[in-house]
Symmetry: C2
Subunit: 315 residues, 2 copies
């Protein structure tokens, strides 16, 4: 069993590669729900939807969120009526939010709902939220403690960041299916996708049972660096590292994760960091990590799985 | 002041005519909310929206509900995902439902929300729900007591009807603005629009304060027959009359309303009923009542207002 930890786009794209190489029963994708929120009466799970849409092949390839064949009549009308249109919701996307919101209101668990939706979208690999309880990422910034989407979408990540808080994480535990998986002794590797370490992977690791399971692991953890050539491929990871006083490099990301990651896949343009990573005791693979299409996602997943195999001593 | 009682399409179309002839401060349109319901998490007010969209000039002229320039991506996607798609909600229409639902959740009253929405749509005449409290029309039928939209949309009015119940009406009172209007001594006439007597006007009259105000009136009540040539122009009024053991005619509708209506505007093709209506003590005007376009709505409104003027002795 391979367990991938994923946020939005980067996680979703590596998940596509892993899903192409692993049978459905051999891959579980654990997804960040720290940026879930309630908006316009809808329960919205951005990362779960990005992973689901991407695996289903209906994600918009440019935008990084939402569906490819989308229309925008709802948002357009809401905007004209003076409604809140800073968080863009497509008309088709809305159907998923309505179904999720209704199911939550009926008392169903997010993990059940996610499984049902993924099935409807023809996704065969398991997508599992990091927990069923609401956990909300709060961004500590010069503008105070900001709700995640307020920081991320409304303020376009402008405020200088000083830290993060994952409200509700202390009471959150992995969903049943993930708890069951954590009991198994055939986990071969955990993969930390090239997602933002602070706001995508951070919330997942803030669920104590998941972090403790990884800390006590007997399998390797392999990560793909989200920083390439001193920049984040997408999103505010590099800006956050600067604001937190960190160097913006694959090496600094490795230091951030510390002993939680055994092997690093870094980009060709960061090859100079390989000796330092090895000096930290990490296994290293160097490849082109930019997943600009499905084929490249699969190539990267192949390198990730090879490094995991090498680190874990399995074949 | 002219007060019109309206349901959906017929009411909305006569409202267009009345609005073209009356200054905004001289016309109040009281709208049925008995077919309001909660669906997919939205608070939906079909008649309020039909009246608002029609007055705003954005209603679909064929369909009789919803907007003209509509798209259907939400419904299409919901249907594909196995969601409830029996009550069709357009993408633009959804924006109104979301705004209403959110405002209700904030504790705003339906009458306030309706006023705010109407203003956003550029409607200058007052649209007022019959009450702020939820009243729900229940259809007593061979299939049991059915929620209105279950009967009307889902079952396409197929079950044989034996009566109606307006749940919550006993606790409902007119909104502030309508109560204030009911105190005024300058009401010139009430107009009963050609809407379904049982399920459009019936719920309005089930609000005791409104019925009592009309019963104690010193102004004439003028109605336009919703039955033309033994048929309902739209909707199940004729079918309901048959099932309730009533003759399907303008005369039977007049008997149904009894002393509550002083003057009847009937269609040219029902001219034979004029003597009987007069024998019942009613004033009668005969004209073409089919409002197939805006000009015809205005012509009908002109006849209605002339009959009111004649009945009320005002000029």
């Amino acid at each position: 069993m391979i367990v991938a930890l994923a946020g939005g786009v980067g996680g979703a794209r590596l998940a596509v590669g892993l899903a192409a190489l692993c049978a459905p029963e051999r891959l579980t994708i654990v997804v960040n729900t720290g940026d879930d929120f309630e908006h316009l009466g809808f329960s919205i799970s951005p990362d779960l939807d990005t992973v689901m849409y991407t695996l289903a092949g209906v994600a918009d390839p440019e935008r990084g969120w939402g569906r490819a064949d989308e229309t925008w009549s709802f948002m357009e009308t809401l905007g004209k009526l003076g409604g809140q249109d800073w968080f863009r919701l497509g008309d088709r996307d809305l159907a998923v939010h309505v179904m999720r919101t209704q199911a939550l209101a009926r008392g169903e668990r997010l993990s059940q709902i996610t499984r049902a939706l993924a099935k409807l979208f023809g996704v065969t690999h398991a997508i599992v939220p990091m927990c069923d309880e609401p956990v909300r990422t709060l961004v500590l910034s010069e503008s105070g403690e900001l709700a995640f989407q307020d920081y991320f979408v409304r303020r376009r990540c402008a405020p200088v960041v000083s830290g993060f808080r994952f409200a509700g994480a202390e009471k959150a535990g992995p969903p049943d299916v993930l708890q069951a998986l954590m009991q198994r002794d055939d986990v071969e590797a955990a993969i930390v996708c090239p997602s933002n370490p602070f706001i995508s992977i951070g919330p997942i690791l803030a669920v104590a049972a998941i972090r403790e399971w990884l800390e006590a692991r007997r399998f390797p953890v392999i990560a793909v660096s989200p920083i390439v050539g001193g920049q984040a491929v997408k999103g505010p990871a590099a800006k956050m590292m600067r604001e937190l006083g960190l160097e913006v490099s694959a090496l600094a990301v490795a230091r951030h994760y510390g002993p939680l990651v055994d092997g690093w896949v870094i980009d060709d343009c960061d090859a100079q960091h390989a000796p330092e990573l090895k000096a930290l005791g990490k296994r290293v693979a160097i490849t082109n990590t930019l997943m600009c299409d499905r084929a490249r996602s699969i190539e990267l997943a192949r390198v990730v799985l090879a490094l995991a195999r090498e680190a874990g001593g399995w074949h």
